[in-house]
């Protein structure tokens, strides 16, 4: 398979699009946790019970459609090879937990891969909905409609006092986790993010750096989500998250301007060095790749590099993970071999932009 073809199939259609504030917010996600009222939760349920839940989903939702989310396909975990499961995890379509508990678990994926409804994860049902860029309100609205659609056929465990009942007390109430993935290179470089994280935590939100430690998160990619699920409405939770993300976007833009203004040569040097590494290296660890890809993306956002599309960061962050590398290589790879493959995949991908 050619790389172009592989990428086309590997990257979810929604990921190829840009959304509002796409220069900083990579994606928005709403996750709703739900359970059947009359079955024990998956962690303690017998396999027979779980297989009943799974069969119920298969009967009622296989090949159904709901609005923009067409032809839901039920993918049973036990039918997949380990590398296939890994690829689904890397695409964020399933959780590592679902991949590990494969006997009677599955996911219902819409054709556009924007929706993934995990069955028999920690809870019986976990609805996940993604949007490109900063679109939390829209994601909430549509996730809630999907939830209503499922509720037509599923008797949810719900209690007037505690709300939607979940296996873990950290999810009870709304059962909702709203998250955004943000690329914050300027706030990371200037260490400003360090000072901001504690303030954000005070608001009941959680900040996680993906790759690397706190402030100097190597890919400068951060996930911000709500921690509290009980005692606030879904709309209020999303609004709080929204306003913090909005402020982070503003701060990041300001920091980028300041960097360009005060140390543009240094910044340019850093960006083009990283570009050099990506286009020339023969061995690259995921850490270094994450850092260089972040720099490259910043260079694109600042207009210093103009022949490469912005979505390349989302794309390559996903494609350079072990599962995808092995799927593309069509064989199992040791970590050393992966570093070689990663380097060549990135080089090849960047060359595609030259040819066009």
């Amino acid at each position: 398979m050619s790389l172009k073809q592989f990428i086309n199939e590997a990257i979810s259609p929604w990921m190829k699009q840009e959304g509002p504030d796409s220069d900083i917010v990579m994606s928005s996600r709403i996750r709703l946790a739900r359970n059947f009222a009359d079955h024990p939760f998956p962690i303690i349920a017998r396999e027979e019970t779980l297989s009943k839940v799974l069969a119920y989903f298969e009967e009622n939702f296989q090949q159904t459609s709901f609005r923009d989310y067409k032809d839901f396909e039920l993918v049973r975990m036990r039918d997949l090879q380990p590398v296939e499961k890994r690829v689904l995890v890397e695409k964020h379509l399933i959780s590592p937990h679902l991949a590990e508990h494969s006997e009677n678990s599955a996911t219902l994926i819409s054709q556009n891969e924007q929706v993934s409804i995990m069955v028999n994860e920690e809870d019986h049902v976990r609805i996940q909905l993604y949007f490109p860029g900063f679109q939390l309100d829209k994601a909430l609205e549509q996730a809630s409609q999907l939830d209503d659609w499922l509720e037509e056929k599923v008797d949810y465990a719900f209690d007037e006092k505690r709300g939607y009942l979940t296996a873990c007390p950290t999810n009870v109430g709304t059962g909702m986790r709203a998250s955004v993935m943000m690329h914050l290179p300027a706030l990371s470089m200037t260490q400003q993010i360090n000072r901001m994280i504690p303030a954000i935590n005070q608001l009941g939100l959680v900040v996680r750096g993906i790759y690397g430690e706190g402030s100097e998160a190597l890919g400068s990619i951060f996930q911000i989500s709500n921690q509290i699920t009980l005692g606030k409405s879904e709309e209020d939770i999303v609004e709080d998250l929204h306003s913090v993300v909005k402020q982070l976007i503003d701060q990041e833009r300001k920091a980028r301007e300041t960097l360009m203004h005060r140390s543009s040569v240094r910044l340019e040097d850093r960006i083009f060095r990283s570009y050099g590494v990506l286009t020339n290296s023969r061995i690259i660890e995921s850490k270094e790749a994450a850092k260089c890809l972040s720099d490259l993306r910043l260079g694109i956002d600042l207009g210093l590099i103009d022949h490469i599309p912005r979505t390349i960061l989302n794309e390559l962050v996903i494609l350079t993970q072990p599962g995808f590398l092995q799927q593309y290589a069509e064989t199992t790879l040791s970590p050393d071999e992966r570093d070689v493959r990663r380097a060549s995949l990135i080089r090849e991908r960047l060359q595609l932009e030259h040819k066009e």
Binding site: S95, P96, H97, G163, G173, G204
Partner: protein, 182 residues
């Protein structure tokens, strides 16, 4: 530095997780980071043990660091009639076994929920369409009542009267609903 998960490969991924102002450093190899979902949209990785340490009172050896075994003979018998999970097991795994567990352990949940959810213990969000029954109606009445209070404070009596009529008609509807159920 060696990977804190497998203790075999060197730790190449270094993460800081901050939950409610509490920082946890994670040092793992790439493999274990993947396997544990550290690089994903992984909100599932909140450490409940961190959040709740000391809040569960379980008998017998506790999995939570720094918590000594305690004995509460009276509580020993608490067991969910539906799924069979005991309170001790709930405390050990930090998870409920079924919907009925919530009622069964209700007396002891408030401190735990308060800690996890910034002081909140009651749901204030979406109500399911079918399952929710007349809760929708109750919520609507609650909203009108709040509205009424504000209108009276602002001395908008004409509007307030309309609002009061609305509440009465909704309450009638609710009584009929409840009568019908019995």
């Amino acid at each position: 530095m060696e990977c804190q998960e497998c203790h075999q490969r060197p730790a190449t991924v270094h993460l800081t997780q901050v939950v409610n102002g509490k920082k946890t450093e994670i040092h793992v190899c790439e493999q274990c980071a993947k396997d544990n979902g550290y690089m994903n949209y992984g909100e599932e990785n909140f450490s409940l043990n961190d959040l709740l340490s000391g809040l569960f009172h379980s008998e017998g050896p506790s999995p939570f660091k720094g918590q000594s075994p305690q004995t509460h003979p009276k509580k020993e018998s608490l067991k969910c009639p539906s799924c069979g999970l005991t309170y001790n097991e709930f405390a050990r795994i930090g998870k409920f076994g079924c919907a009925v567990c919530y009622e069964t352990f209700d007396d002891r949940l408030n401190p735990i929920l308060r800690r996890v959810h910034s002081g909140n213990t009651r749901h204030d969000g979406k109500i399911p369409k079918r399952e929710g029954g007349n809760l929708h109606l109750k919520k609507e009445i609650e909203e009108y009542k709040n509205n009424l209070r504000q209108l009276i404070e602002q001395e908008e009596f004409e509007e307030a009267a309309k609002c009061r009529d609305k509440i009465r008609s909704l309450e009638n509807e609710l009584h009929q609903d409840e009568g019908g159920e019995e």
